[in-house]
Symmetry: C2
């Protein structure tokens, strides 16, 4: 077969504010790949099926001199992140043609060749679920919700939890885990459709933070015992104001500051006056504690439909830059997945 185009999304420029499709991140079609003959040098060739677009990716669009928990993207090279793909050819002893791979080391490309399984693992899919689930409710976002809720919430039935971005892939699972434990759940999101979804999955109170004052809701509902934070900034300030004594704050994300260099928080003194514990985490560091339980507890309920989730599917790798911007601006309607190819 003649060489085919290997579409890729390149990191073209460090953004100052929001990333810009076509400028800071660019879909590129200049690379060709000969799928039959490209030398593997002991490695394997992966056809990318699904790519995940997540809020944390903004943090990787930085100058390499700036340290953080995840490595910066390389200028001129493809972005990368979580994805699912299928092996087309292999010279690697542990990787067979037809194997499905998952991991955070997926190039944002239609195809890539890799020599090792670093950052990749073989996927088991006994229930024949759509592959996209493995970058959403059964992937990093789902694990984020499950691991940290179990590690840090110390939830008791009857308590009240506030979940920001409650219609997203992380927040929506947190809502369902909390309801299953008998908590009262308050969820916020940025559209009426997302509010409806939060109610559908069990939120007792769901509101649109763009049209409703967060602090007023939290105070009217009598305050909160747990705050699941995906937002930071003003929303975190409201949660601090409305926290009860002994509240637990789980810091999962702070997207309000990702495109502005950080959103200030002015009322941290409540941490002292209310004996609040704030726990920040990176999902990978909790893998050892909860990785097995996740597959035992969450996967069957996803397969049975008991755990609900939604996807916003972007068709084609060329849509990935827009998906990235949508996620940073909250314009995606649910978990953002880029459907790159069918098998």
């Amino acid at each position: 077969m003649a060489p085919v185009t290997n579409g890729r999304v390149l990191f073209n420029e460090v953004p100052t504010g929001f990333p810009e499709p076509g400028k800071t991140i660019v879909y590129d079609t200049t690379q060709k790949i000969d799928l039959d003959n490209e030398p593997l040098n002991g490695g394997f060739l992966v056809k990318v099926l699904e790519l995940s677009v997540d809020p944390y990716m903004r943090g990787r669009m930085r100058h390499p001199s700036k340290k953080s928990y995840s490595p910066p993207f390389t200028l001129g090279a493809p972005l990368n992140g979580f994805g699912v793909g299928v092996v087309l050819r292999s010279e690697h002893a542990d990787v067979k043609v037809g194997d499905h791979l998952y991991g955070f080391a997926f190039d944002h490309a239609q195809y890539f060749i890799r020599k090792t399984l670093d950052g990749l693992e073989k996927l088991d899919n006994p229930n024949n679920l759509p592959w996209s689930y493995f970058v959403g409710v059964l992937g990093m976002p789902g694990k984020t919700a499950h691991y940290a809720w179990n590690e840090y919430s110390h939830a008791k039935a009857g308590e009240t939890v506030f979940v920001s971005t409650g219609a997203g892939p992380v927040g929506s699972l947190v809502i369902q885990l909390a309801k299953a434990q008998g908590l009262k759940v308050i969820g916020s999101a940025g559209s009426e459709d997302k509010v409806a979804f939060m109610k559908e999955i069990g939120a007792d109170v769901a509101f649109n933070y763009k049209t409703t004052n967060t602090l007023e809701v939290l105070e009217r509902e009598g305050g909160i015992d747990i705050y699941w934070d995906n937002v930071g900034g003003e929303t975190l300030e409201a949660a601090l104001e409305a926290a009860k004594n002994g509240a637990r704050f789980i810091e999962c994300g702070m997207i309000s500051g990702y495109n502005s260099g950080g959103a200030p928080v002015r009322n941290l003194f409540h941490v002292i006056s209310k004996s609040i514990t704030i726990s920040g985490f990176i999902v990978g560091r909790l893998e050892g504690n909860w990785g097995k339980k996740f597959w035992q507890e969450v996967a069957p309920k996803v397969a049975s439909g008991e755990i609900k989730h939604r996807e916003h599917v972007y068709e084609g790798l060329d849509k990935l830059p827009q998906a990235i911007l949508d996620v940073q601006q909250g314009n995606n309607t649910a978990k953002a997945v880029v459907h790159v190819a069918r098998e």
Copy 2:
């Protein structure tokens, strides 16, 4: 005996910035008291010996509509806080003449009459230590250091702790507890004298934050595993920058914001990227866990001189307003104690 003047320090006005002696807090000599004949109505008469002046008191100088963990001071009435006194007369079954009392319910006055022991307890002083110790290293500040260090530090030998206001009554005990556990200790304070004291009590690195950049010190020393925060604001920001993965932050105070309505913190995202845990606390809520151990572990070492501490004694109740301002501005040289009277 004829009635004598009962000097009092009155809360005269809610301050907008720093409290102002003679304006927002006023020493008043208009009240007379007949020590022999003032009716007790079943209560007891206390002669005040020592009063404690502490940073948290600024938070009580507020409009009563503003909620916080400690009640607001009452306009026109004496301030109150921790103190030690001796009973001159009593009609109360549990209180005898000559008993020494300690507690947070001490009027800032030379004498007061009380009907119950609410907020007061009888003091045991087997080592005949100066009464002022019981509002300092053996009082609320010492308990604050001991209880929270044991509850939240999860300290391991070889780790590095940063203690802000390390020459104060809380910080200086934290430094000594940390050194006893084999930690490397970095302390900051606002004068060369305080720096010398921190070195004397064992700090490995001690610096004056007014002349030395906090973040540069913390980074040069290789980062921190634990931060004991008495300051908030920019110092907290520096500690977040220099924190290692898995760091523990113990939030004891945030004096940088007490007189300005709160100091913003802009880099809270490190809480996530470094998996930091932040624990806020109020000492009283930890009493049950550590109250007994404190007397077993700390009191003998204070009596033997193994635990060192310093006092800044203000002679006379009329100096209390200035002591309050000094503590808010960091102009006291050590634990601020107002020596009201000898027995």
